[in-house]
């Protein structure tokens, strides 16, 4: 006897990352076409369709879908673009709005029934977005501050004693050029990955103890699992919205930092 679980042969198995995230192809033989790819494409089409329906033929007095999407536009403009970009906010709204909506729909597909897979929990998807923001950031920085000026502004912030620059310049360089885009992608990825694992674990507990192996001792555990699944689904929806907001906000922050040298 090496464990605390019941002696019956079929034991409860917690879901492993491999079986949750390593999904088989939808069409056998087409290796790249898996569920996250399908969801990513569907989300992109959905976002394009909804914004097209809202802003393709805009009315002065908004009705229907335009009303809803304008609410999202206002949110992105006032909370994301304006605080970080100031007077340049309207120029960058196209990028930031599509980024926010795309990541939001990607994340929300983690709790939508039948989809139930947050696309961003495969690191390739947030990594592509973060790398494009990173390239854009460097391009804008070099364009607006000059090739040498950009790196000088980045690595030698004013107002420090002279001799300490030798020690601090490598920290600045590494933090801005490597760690910042890395954490930009990993923050979204890790939140979605952990959230999906958590939901899968609790729903597995509920299903196992209430349907597969219904015992008097196991039933309360299963009820706890179901209750926790409901609570964590609500919590996950909040986290998914928050992460989409943070992703767009960090993108706006990097773009704003590249446009204007350190204030």
């Amino acid at each position: 006897m090496s464990a605390l679980t019941a002696p019956a042969p079929p034991q409860f198995q917690a879901p492993t990352p491999d079986e949750l995230f390593n999904l088989p192809p939808i069409i056998p033989g087409v290796e790249w076409f898996t569920k996250p790819v399908l969801l990513a494409v569907l989300s992109a089409i959905l976002v394009i369709g909804v914004t097209w329906a809202a802003f393709g033929n805009p009315k002065v007095v908004p009705r229907g879908v335009q009303n809803v999407v304008e609410y999202g536009y206002m949110f992105v403009r006032d909370q994301v673009a304006r605080p970080f970009l100031g007077k340049d906010a309207d120029r960058w709204m196209g990028l930031l709005l599509s980024l926010f909506f795309l990541v939001l729909v990607w994340n929300l597909s983690g709790v939508i029934p039948l989809a139930q897979f947050p696309v961003a929990s495969h690191i390739a998807f947030p990594a592509v977005l973060a790398i494009s923001i990173y390239v854009l950031k460097i391009y804008l920085g070099v364009k607006h501050q000059g090739g040498i000026g950009y790196f000088k502004n980045m690595m030698f912030p004013p107002g420090l004693p002279k001799f300490i620059y030798v020690l601090l310049a490598p920290i600045e360089f590494l933090s801005n050029m490597i760690i910042a885009p890395f954490t930009h992608a990993v923050r979204l990825f890790a939140n979605m990955f952990a959230g999906h694992m958590l939901l899968a674990f609790f729903s597995m507990v509920g299903f196992w103890f209430l349907f597969e192996q219904l015992t008097p001792l196991g039933a309360p555990v299963g009820i706890i699992g179901v209750v926790m699944t409901i609570i964590f689904t609500a919590f996950e929806m909040f986290i998914q919205f928050l992460q989409a907001f943070l992703f767009a906000m960090l993108a706006a922050m990097y773009i704003g930092g590249a446009l204007h040298p350190d204030h």
């Binding site: 006897m1 090496s2 464990a3 605390l4």
Partner: protein
């Protein structure tokens, strides 16, 4: 002697989990009290902000120290 319960997997992950408790509470206290202080005395914003930053830096450093502690002790 039969084993009652055992831990499989990487033990250092548990170590980091324990090490993250303290800084987590600390960051919560710093920002909670900081926001409260700003709400009570908005004119002292600059001073409060400076001290919040200092506290956050020191607390966060502890959390990151916990992150690398397994690597440090693996070397010794």
């Amino acid at each position: 002697m039969s084993v009652l319960a055992e831990v499989s997997g990487n033990v250092t992950a548990i170590g980091y989990g324990l090490a993250a408790i303290g800084p987590g509470i600390g960051v919560g206290i710093i920002f909670g009290q900081g926001v409260q202080a700003i709400a009570r005395q908005p004119e002292a914003y600059g001073l409060i902000r400076q001290n919040m930053l200092l506290g956050f830096v020191l607390t966060e450093a502890l959390a990151l120290l916990g992150l690398v502690a397994p690597f440090i002790f693996a070397g010794i």
